[in-house]
Assembly symmetry: C2
Homo-oligomer: 543 residues x 2
């Protein structure tokens, strides 16, 4: 039903936290609607001239789409709002003394929900990291005498409890944020929608119920189920291909690196090897990522969100193998904890300092170069009539976009940021017992990460197109998976630590049963993801 | 907004599967509204005479409530619809040859959703049980030669996969049923509602936002959080008291039984001991259940559904300790698998045959006795003028209600039925490797259970008041918990089976680390329940 909106009854409407009537996401939608739906309604075609080109605007055509296809309009993108941006730079990006405090409501109204949720998560994660950071520092620095024997297990137990509690409280916080922003969070809305459409349509006309209950319904249902399960089967085949290719291609490479690292004596050579390894892995990952994108694109599912999640799982699987297999090799096969610790430090420094620097500086210099060229080009054209300053829109046009390094259609730059966080979390959690100090490094890094990410978004990049995602999505499952993995790996590390001579023994029968138990627990908790529990989604427009 | 309902536009409304406009639940609500809201509106009080009593019906009073307090109306309860009932007896309760097939839609429209969901679950569970039943029979009967060594582990792995898949598919089936019955299944609706009410109210008037963001909001929030966490703390304290009292009271009793059973030689004495044990345990459980009910009633939470779930967890905890501790004692401490098997058979026969018989026959004979007395009383009063037949309403009034044996306010008879199913599932799953034939027993039992439960509801009991629950609720979590437990217990059983002489060894350090690992995995998956992830619930009437 349509109710007319009167400006003087504006108080009756629920508003955004910043007082405006629509969110940035909704406003952008409106702008797009206005821009793209400027359609010619009357008959005689209109003609424009632009340089040498002549454009003919015919009836029923959108002017903007016409201009885009002709190449006259290069791109449509949202501009930064300079007043708001400067305010945010001041209150958020350069506000170093607040440590983890951020003006989340303002971020939400400027960048949209998804980015605000990322920063809320990053802030809360960093705040919570202070506890294990301090604990790790104490464990590393203080000698507890005869209690030393129990310190690492105690640290480990506290850590797992901490991680579990953190994610539970994050879910609460996320719900509270959504309630504050007045968002309806229907879990899995839009997913597995089709399954119910069928069931609904069968019961829309109850008088036909008995008729439809016959063979017709069963064949329709069967065809639909065949489709659904075939799509799922395809997906798992793809996952299987990815995993197999990773194992075949990457594992020997990883193991060779780990082996060489253990064999080489000179520290300098070792460092060189690590640098070469890390750079080549970047290259390898990019290939793997492209394969993953291709596989995802061939999947049957048409839902963008679902495919984005699928991509997240696949790419994280790749990175997971890459980042940790070499470390496992050091830890378990060589029982060489000193080397493991050194490799961990190198990785942490490399990934956190170097990658942060590269990530932020390369786009900046690219932008500067582009700008310099543009100014020179302009000067040439105008022959010195202008002082060489670019107009604001052109400057923004030259800025890089906030996009994922792997697949621009499905994910934006948050993919890279979350990937970085997940890899860091995995590294510090899974090898916690080998190197408790890692938490302190991570906490320090994340404090700077908040501000550098903020600066990147506000100063260096184009304003991103807002997305309406209400949670951190697939990443939450990945973090949960990392906690479970970390329980197992830390137990292995503890065995290595306390049993340096390899004197502990265990009967092979017991080992077999233990392996079976772990495999079954994995099945129990893994299958819950394999066979989706269909959540009830009402067909659009009914409620 | 009110829209008028016209009978000739009835086609525009969505209807129940059976063609009626309202569900049985809704209709009963309407009847109750009509019955209880018959209120006198004009002034002079009316007087009735009934036997010796005189009732004065004053203005603003509900006639029915008045009559109830005066004791003239004894009880208001729904009657069976004889046509529908006879049809259901024919198509459902006595339709033995359909095995697990049931007319779920008809059950739903006659008994309401909750009971239909129970029978759908029971049917699907029994249907799925055929696979492990057949597998168990094969494992029990056929000798696989040298492969015999791998048969039990293979059986166990298949079983866990089966159980996990079953519950995932049950969730799908449940959603499909709800979609068919056109029910909106908002997860956890009505729970944790208060948490959001606060957040919402703070943002209802965005212009006051900045003012409220000050100290006032923080104190309000803090007070609220204190309340919330205090309630939760009370709940856990109660849980702790229950568990401790179980351990103190019951464990010695259980262990004494298990010990005597192992010591006594004569088979007859053993059987007698078991019967005494099982009867005394029934008594003990009833005490435990009453304690649990009292604890639940003292909890801060006011939500009925939430308290019902809390009761389910507590009572199941009690039964779990009771039913399995003695068995564990046989399995692990005595390494006596033959005794374990015999005890399992006794338990299965007792719980499935004897309890089923008692459960069904005692209320029936009670009803017969009551009816006999009523008829005799009537004959005395009327002095032989009537043939002694009771009117239908009086007959129904004498029938027992479908109520839980433990707490009538929070749960109905489904509580007992689900408890029976969960205990059976736990028994057959947790000791699967010791006694694979149990699945066959369970499958046979459940086929009869479907029909006897149907008969009980249709013939023996009063028509139950329908409930609007859309899932099997807390029981699903209990089943999931039993799967995880069964993985661990079966591993222990396998160790006992393959290592009869106790020759396998393991270093104490490894044992410590393994115990720690299992404890942490328990924390990981247990904490997810302890710290509830608040689901977003919109305040009523907004959507």
């Amino acid at each position: 039903m349509d109710l007319q909106f009167h400006m003087d009854e504006i108080d009756a409407f629920i508003r955004q936290p910043d007082g405006s009537l629509f969110s940035w996401h909704e406003r952008l939608r409106c702008y797009q609607h206005i821009l793209y739906d400027t359609v010619k309604v009357n008959k005689p075609a209109m003609k424009f001239k632009c340089g040498d080109k002549e454009v003919c605007w015919e009836m029923g055509e959108s002017i903007l789409r016409k201009l885009e296809t002709e190449g006259i309009v290069k791109e449509i993108f949202p501009l930064h709002d300079d007043v708001m941006r400067k305010q945010l730079v001041k209150s958020w990006a350069l506000n170093w003394w607040d440590f983890t405090e951020q003006p989340i409501d303002e971020i939400c109204s400027y960048f949209g929900m998804k980015i605000a949720i990322y920063f809320a998560f990053l802030g809360m994660y960093t705040r919570w990291l202070f506890f294990p950071a301090a604990f790790g520092l104490i464990v590393h620095l203080i000698d507890f005498g005869w209690l030393q024997f129990f310190v690492l297990p105690a640290f480990f137990v506290c850590l797992v409890t901490w991680a579990v509690l953190f994610f539970q409280f994050w879910k609460r916080k996320n719900s509270a944020l959504l309630a504050r922003w007045q968002v309806d969070q229907t879990p899995g809305a839009g997913r597995d929608y089709k399954a119910f459409e069928l069931e609904w349509s069968l019961f829309q006309f109850p008088s036909d119920h008995i008729k439809k209950y016959g063979s017709e319904k069963i064949t329709e249902k069967e065809a639909f189920q065949r489709d659904e399960w075939f799509g799922r089967f395809m997906r798992y085949r793809n996952d299987f291909v990815v995993i197999l290719s990773i194992i075949c291609l990457q594992l020997p490479f990883e193991l060779a690196y780990a082996h060489f690292y253990a064999v080489i004596e000179s520290d300098l050579l070792k460092f060189g090897l690590t640098v070469v390894y890390l750079l080549s892995i970047q290259y390898l990952t990019r290939i793997g990522g492209k394969i993953a994108v291709k596989l995802v694109n061939r999947e049957a599912s048409k839902n963008v969100e679902y495919r984005a999640d699928s991509l997240v799982y696949k790419v994280f699987g790749l990175y997971f193998m890459q980042s940790y297999v070499g470390l496992f090799y050091h830890a378990v096969l060589h029982r060489n904890l000193m080397t493991l610790r050194r490799v961990l430090i190198q990785r942490l420094i490399f990934s956190e300092v170097v990658e942060n620097l590269l990530e932020n500086s390369i786009p900046y210099f690219k932008y500067k170069l582009k700008k310099f060229r543009a100014v020179r080009f302009k000067r040439k054209c105008d022959r010195g009539t202008v002082t060489g300053k670019l107009p604001r829109v052109e400057k923004e046009f030259l800025k890089p976009t906030y996009s994922a390094s792997i697949c621009e259609e499905l994910e934006d730059g948050l993919f890279d940021d979350f990937l970085e966080l997940a890899l860091q979390f995995g590294m510090i959690m899974m090898f916690a017992c080998a190197f408790p100090l890692a938490f302190t490094f991570a906490a320090l890094n994340n404090i700077t990460e908040i501000r550098t990410d903020a600066l990147k978004l506000l100063v260096m990049l184009r304003r991103p197109v807002p997305r309406h995602d209400a949670t951190i999505g697939a990443w939450l499952n990945i973090f949960q998976f990392l906690i479970v993995m970390s329980i197992c790996t830390n137990c292995i590390l503890l065995v290595c630590l306390y049993d340096r001579e390899g004197e502990w023994n265990i009967s092979p029968g017991l080992v077999a049963i233990l392996v079976m138990e772990h495999a079954l627990l994995l099945i129990k908790f893994g299958f819950s993801h394999f066979v989706p529990e269909v959540k009830f989604v009402a067909p659009g427009g009914y409620f």
